[in-house]
């Protein structure tokens, strides 16, 4: 496979998914959208924003980080499954995939490019949504609140954003694992809705067995027995073992996808 073919494959994947990816990026900011809508339309909410001070703005950033993390590991994973489910199955269903088979590329190359582009897009959305949400909330508070000053609140923002970066690593790895699983379903089932159901069932199963643990780890530990305050220390502790396990699972799922794809009968 030549360099030109690689570039062409990447370009093709990007062209095909760029609008979907943009919509996906917006969908990952749904909590921010809801908050923006409330602040825009409800005067009491605007008043609350207006009266913020540096100390309370720091608390708002803490809450934002935990809330966005909570969204990512719940509704966000379903969104991710919906994004990943159309990776292969839809192209097989409408037979556009066969165009690629007539090109001088191997079958596993096609799957590799699709997986890599999709994985980069989803993990970027998942990871960056934490930082972009924090940045947007901070910008709005600094711009709208009379008593929030850059000098007084920048330190708090940097602290929360630093914790957010660590949270980003964790949510990106979780996202990659869910993406890989759904990608496999997309290879297995040509009908996209079967893959959606399979993805949803898998996610529900995952939440049933480990959801409580994940939620407790991300949300409860940050808020339990804090008297309303948020403790971000757990964001500062990046345990390499679960991250490594999830990366290994993701890799395994990718190879499983390759295995299924290589042996898939396509007419």
């Amino acid at each position: 496979m030549t360099k030109e073919i690689c570039k062409a494959m990447l370009w093709k994947e990007w062209r095909e998914t760029r609008w979907k990816w943009l919509a996906f990026a917006f969908a990952f900011h749904i909590p921010l959208g809801i908050a923006a809508l409330v602040v825009t339309l409800r005067e009491p909410a605007r008043f609350d924003l207006y009266v913020l001070s540096d100390a309370v703005a720091a608390q708002v950033l803490d809450v934002t980080l935990v809330a966005q993390s909570g969204f990512l590991i719940t509704a966000g994973l379903f969104l991710l499954a919906f994004f990943a489910v159309g990776s292969i199955g839809a192209e097989l269903d409408n037979r556009s995939m066969f165009f690629l088979f007539e090109r001088p590329v191997m079958r596993w190359h096609i799957l590799l490019f699709k997986y890599v582009v999709g994985a980069v897009q989803t993990t970027m959305c998942v990871g960056l949504s934490i930082l972009s949400t924090l940045a947007f909330v901070y910008f709005i508070m600094a711009a709208a609140a009379t008593n929030v000053t850059l000098a007084g609140s920048w330190g708090a923002f940097v602290k929360v954003a630093s914790n957010g970066v660590r949270g980003t690593v964790l949510t990106m790895v979780i996202g990659l694992m869910v993406y890989s699983a759904t990608f496999l379903f997309s290879v297995l089932f040509e009908k996209w809705w079967i893959a959606v159901i399979a993805g949803a069932v898998s996610l529900v199963g995952m939440f049933y067995y480990v959801g409580g643990y994940i939620f407790d780890w991300i949300i409860s530990a940050a808020t339990r027995d804090r008297g309303g305050a948020i403790d971000l220390s757990l964001y500062g502790r990046l345990d390499p073992v679960p991250i490594l396990v999830m990366l290994i699972v993701s890799t395994g799922l990718f190879f499983a996808s390759q295995y299924v794809f290589a042996r898939k009968e396509m007419k």
Binding site: E43, F47, V51, S53, A55, V56, N147
Partner: protein, 560 residues
Amino acid sequence: MKRLKRKPYLFGLAAALVVIGAAAVHFARPSKAESPRLERYLPADAIGFVEVNDLRAQALKVIDSEAWRAFTKENEAASSLFMMTANHTGALDASYAVALLGVGTTPEGKREPQFAVVAEFDGASARRTFENRVLRFAQNSDGKSIETKTEQYNDVTINVITPQGKHGFAYAQTGDTLYLSNASEAVKRLLDVRAGRLPTLETNQTFVQARARAKSVEGMFGFLDGAALTKLVDGAGAGGDNKGVEAFKQFFHGVGASSVESVAFTSTFEDGRVAERAFVVAPNKEGVLATVAANQPTQGALLALVPEDAVAAFDASIANAPQTFEQVVSLATQLSEQSGKKSPSDALAEFTEKTGVDFRGEILNSLGTEFCAAQLSAGDSPSGVVILNLKDEQAFTQALAKIAASKHHATSERDYKGVAIQHVEGENGHALEYAIVGGNFVASGKSSAVERVIDTAQGGGSLKSSAAYTAASASVVGQPQFVYYNSNADYLNHLGHTLKSSDDTFKTEGQSASLRPSFAYGVMRADGFYVEGHTPLGAFPRLLSGVASKLGEKKESGAE
């Protein structure tokens, strides 16, 4: 159509324009609370009322004020949470008027004043929030059983709430307006005004003139109808044998209150602080009011003796003090004769007998034209000083010496920079120090205060010549009868005290900020008396504190 379908962004653009247009209409339309004119809901014969226009707008102005910004720097979290609490009480989205409508007769036959609260809400949602939170709290606040009755008055339902063992209240709502009163008859009158069956206060010419005089009615506005008040006082206790009421009537007329046509009061934000103005319209002044009105304006000469770093100072003309005193004594004597109590003349004679001092001749007649009281330091040990301009210092000091001798208080004298300071021992470890400085009597409980006045008189920087006082007094129009100055050095600590409740952690000491000084003055005009004051926040913190603490507690108690 096909071409349009190929250009989805055109649909997006159209949709965005519709959304922006709807939002523009939503935000451009003034809310009902922003333009209330609540007087149109009050009867023409109302005695008076105070209204607060659009409480949310006032709260936002408080937040924008220089004092609140400085206060927030010291109380970051507490100040934000205080405002949020006030915000979520549901009471901010409205304009309120508290009115005295007159005197009515209760079902038990007792005469009592009828008060009413009229609230114009921003919308049905705001009104319901208020009703749910405030009225239900009021009904259940003491946990006792209540009796609730409803009464149909034309097409409006009046709710009468009577808690066990307590005076009840009645309320009704029409549209987004809520009427609440301690008497259901008062609510009916308000509903009659609303329905056009009774004339509104807007048709009262006295009110119309008072409103026209008010520079701005954006914040608070108050009005008192002098003629209606006089009528109310004159009609009180009619037919009864109540000496107290009769004495009050005499007092009311004697002080000249019956000659007041109206009082208008405004409180509004200007340049990041609150300007309060009151105008007492009394073109034909009578009694004590006429004597006080004839006072010469103050020259402010005593302010030249107050050190420039004084925390607060009040300076007033007392040129007519002897005449005013005689009028008050005469009035009090009349009242005491009726009630059979000791008259002021008897008390004065007793004073002369005990001290050997003729109060009128030796003290009152030796006073000059000006009086000044000042606070020289802030914090835990403020030192106050009184400065009196004297006409006859010898007679005045002799009178003081006689009083000290009659009470057997030890006296001593010391010299400070060529000025003799008299020390009079008092009771419970207290003492009085005084000196005559440039023909003025200077007295304080703290020796350092008298010494600082002497320093100022001998060339130290005075308040009158200070840049802060000059800037603060620049707004004075006319020759004032009194002036009040406050450096606001202690303002943030006082604000902390005002707002502090058990839940808040406002600082009440150790806060300092360079706020602009407060200043107030009063001038006599041909048709009345005008008072103007500029302070950091006026009465608004107290108002918001009332809303946040009272209604905030209700929410916690789960009254909703």
